[in-house]
Amino acid sequence: MLFVSLISTYLIYKGRSRVGPFPHETWVDPTSGHQLHAILNIPVTSASTFTLLMSSLFMVLALAAVENKGRFPMRTWWQRRLASSKLWLWATAIAGTTFLGFQAFEFTSFVHEGLSIRTNLFGSSFFTLTGFHGAHVTAGVIWLLTLLSIDYKRGLGPADSLKVDIAALYWHFVDVVWIAIFTLVYLIK
């Protein structure tokens, strides 16, 4: 409901900003006369979207590794590595952190291009929506690192699968919210 409210707010304010920069349209700054390009960087956001989608894959593989730990003999080094919950939990946390890095880069470049949370309606609704999502990703990364610390301390096994499953459900929720944001905010002009 929180994200629906934020997405609704973004959509309601879409196209109602009186001054630029704008998400998909060029804009001429009346004070300087400079023409500013559309501010959204689709290639960068596509890369960050891909990273978050892959993090969901890593998360289900981490869960599968925890559930199946000790069930089957792993004969080779490669088999043992692929069945390691630590590997997939690290991969998920790194992918989540990479996504946050993309978001930090995007926010920084927007501010340098003259768009802040106070500039116009687009800036206010955009930073609030994507900022809240980023905060949820940050919480997810902290949760994953907590699971990793437990894994290093005593090892995660089938008895812990429910704990990892709940963390995975949260992570996928963050992913599906981004699927909606990517289309509604970035792609629909």
Partner: protein, 116 residues
Amino acid sequence: MEHDTAHSDAATHAPDAHHEEYHPEWSTYWKVALILTVITVGEVWMYYVPAIVASRAFVPGLLALSALKFAIVVMFYMHLKYDHKLFRALFTGPLMIAGATLIALMFLFGHFVAKL
């Protein structure tokens, strides 16, 4: 691969005492990731083709692809496809309420009025 086979067997075994859910095989997870990537590439491709952007199918097409990705993640990664009907209802019920709230808010604030 032997490793995959081991996990495939695990996925098709009866649920154990600790975890009574049924999860898909590893290969399914990889296929799902590939499908999600292909759909995302398709979405971005649509964004860069002026003829598609100018057509009336652009927004509905993007919304349909987004809904498809959403459903795939929910069904396979969030394993709702394999869960009890109660969990499905607990997820889809609030989701429908959220969707209705979004549409209601859009109407309330006159987002659709200008286009009617």
